[in-house]
Symmetry: C2
């Protein structure tokens, strides 16, 4: 049905020749409706432009990094100013210290920071610190949660060994009893409990954890001496200005951060409580670009906006307006659209759509009308989603619902998802 | 003896509070002479400025990323121009395709590319591709070679498990017979042979491999069906404009690249031969910032300089002038300075200095005179090391040798290195 523009298709053909399987990872459009552009040439605020010159209101936000708006003036000015002085030098700049101090002041549980590049770096470091701290091996994780794409956590096992996932025990996210069962199964060998701030798994409804679940995780770690790790890479600073579980009254020992930390500039971090400092200081972990000064300048500027601005209230406001609008439109067109997760990180799934044919067709129709939604992954609001952008998006989605209704008889299951969907 | 400046010392004290153990990883000065600055505020060309305003001719070059000079005008202009259009978007930019095409055209063995951020990402990917391609587990590495700081390769075991290093077999770098022994030990389970372009291990003389060693590695992989991986992260584009072993007549199946690929901007890559394409396409590997467009623009500009300019001849010329100058000065002052490795990536070690007391004192005296050398890690030349910079450096090192001679009676072994040095 839909088809990407000519330039995008030409780029895909070239990409097939020089990238294995074409564009890979989370930026691949292989699991998205066909019309979605694979390549973008420009971003500003909440908008993207594809290689064929088509403009979009974007609710993917780079899958998280875009928190304040693409090309945010203050953030990018701070980045550019530091880049002109120096970025990757033979040692860090003083901004390393300033940024660590800023995060320690802002995130309640944190006494120290280690900066890295990938979110996966930070989640891997969390496991290393927990194992060094406890001298133990086992890690309790939630089944289906995404914590990166290193051999120990990539959701696809190709190229990995069973040893890469040794000593992992899984539980059902949000289920305090099942968490306790998993912790008991680890016996005296438990190094860490790892959880996302909320359940933001692909293909399923999102769910916020209860305060009881978070408190049980904390209590079980306190009881066993294991470390409590919350992986903030995707949700960090979109739920709160502090670590996400502070709202639930729980302070983790370690939190991993990335994506939005420098509003799109390459930076991630592990933050840790005092108790884990000695263990963290024994690790040897580093990367060629971990000392880069310019992304740290960008992070400091991002954190100034986070502390001093109303970005979070704007995210929530925009997310609520989008949610209310979609809800009304869906009902008017005779659909039940399940909207889960916090409004600023919404998941939209159609009722009665086990093979995602409706979700794909709806998103495809929205994309053709200049709005980028996601049919099976949580989306992201940014502070540049103002009323005008939400109004524009809702005008397009209303037409998309109508188009979906017209196509109901001819919808077919997206072949790309075959074999990937969770069983019901 | 030496002491860092007041601002640097104050920053270190602050760093101790908010970073575990202070600045970590390869950028830490904990294993360097005391006077070395831990923080830098500016870099330009081959020069660095520390937080106390002292200027240096820098032979560390960010430990590799600085290939063409800090703040290279053409590279940074390309970066800034793309940043203004868009960097971390909801998909890659067309530059992804252009960069992959450029590398495939430039690096003989390469048919495809995957882009990532850390050098460690690229070396980890190499192992994953080799294991996916062969369906086997074992990897033959050189003892003491550095391939990154993930749990499978960090030189310090804190926080890692024995399982992280499962199926690794070590051999002596450069020893074709020992390589064959290791390959035979893997039996039918060999996935890959991994080697650096030359032996650039810390604390020891560097050595270039013989053509026979490289050819044996290739032949053993061909015979067993394993993949030959050359880790170019540190040496890539400093030995050649192609993959380093092309000069030895050997084409690897996989090469990992990082550091200098975008002249200091955060980008790494795995390049692969056609034979490994199908396996690479089956992996799920990604990172929040792997699609960033601005570092790809910087890499394209860097590769234009690499292809079209005389950067490599200038690196070699500067390295040879430094080497000849140091050789003559050492002899004049009654020392034997062993200078190993290619001139553009030199290691300098004093004869009769098993605990590095001379090396430390010499580097400390050079640092006090405005030249950053390294007493136990290979150094790096960049294209901004012109005759003026080398002359300036040699004037300082001549005085440093004289100062070393005056201090001979009072030198003591650097305490920081205790327990780290290889046994002789």
């Amino acid at each position: 049905m839909g088809e990407a523009g000519r330039h995008d298709r030409e780029l895909r053909e070239r990409a097939e020749r020089v990238l294995p399987g074409g564009v890979g990872g989370h930026l691949s459009t292989r699991l998205l409706p066909e019309g979605y552009p694979q390549f973008y040439v420009r971003g500003k605020g909440a908008r993207l432009w594809d290689a064929d010159g088509r403009a979009y209101v974007d609710f993917l936000c780079g899958y998280g990094p875009n928190l304040l708006g693409y090309g945010h003036p203050a953030v990018d000015a701070a980045f550019a100013e530091q880049l002109a002085r120096g970025d990757t030098l033979s040692g860090p700049s003083p901004l390393l210290v300033e940024l660590a101090e800023t995060l320690v002041a802002q995130v309640s549980h944190a006494a120290w920071a280690i900066f890295c590049k990938n979110g996966t770096d930070a989640t891997t470091l969390a496991l290393m610190v927990a194992r060094a701290h406890t001298g133990r091996r086992k890690v309790v994780l939630a089944k289906g949660s995404y914590h990166g794409s290193a051999p120990w956590c990539t959701p696809v096992p190709a190229g990995t060994l069973p040893e890469d996932r040794a000593h992992q025990i899984h539980h059902r996210y949000g289920d305090a009893e099942d968490l306790e069962r998993a912790v008991r199964a680890a016996g005296a060998d438990l190094a860490a409990v790892v959880a996302s701030p909320f359940r933001h798994d692909a293909f399923v409804d999102q769910s916020l954890p209860s305060a009881e679940y978070a408190a049980r995780a904390r209590a079980l770690c306190d009881e066993t001496g294991a470390l409590l790790v919350v992986d903030e890479v995707r949700a960090g600073f979109r739920l709160a200005r502090d670590a996400s579980w502070r709202q639930l009254g729980v302070d983790p020992d370690l939190t991993s951060w990335g994506k939005a930390l420098a509003n799109g500039h390459a930076l991630s971090a592990l933050l840790g409580a005092e108790t884990a400092r000695a263990a963290a200081s024994r690790l040897y972990v580093t990367g060629s670009f971990w000392g880069q000064a310019a992304p740290m300048a960008a992070a400091l500027a991002t954190l100034r906006e986070i502390r001093g601005g109303d970005y979070l209230e704007r995210l929530v406001h925009a997310g609520e307006r989008l949610r209310e609008g979609l809800h009304a439109q869906a009902a008017a067109h005779g659909y039940v659209l399940r909207q889960s997760g916090p409004p600023q990180m919404p998941q939209i799934l159609f009722d009665g759509d086990p093979d995602f044919r409706r979700g794909f067709a709806f998103c495809e129709e929205a994309q053709r009308r200049g709005v980028l939604l996601h049919p099976w992954h949580n989306m992201f609001l940014c502070a540049a989603h103002g009323d005008a952008e939400i109004d524009e998006a809702l005008a397009a989605t209303d037409e998309a619902f109508a188009a979906l209704r017209r196509r109901e008889a001819t919808l077919s299951a997206p072949a790309a998802l075959a074999g990937l969907l969770p069983r019901h």
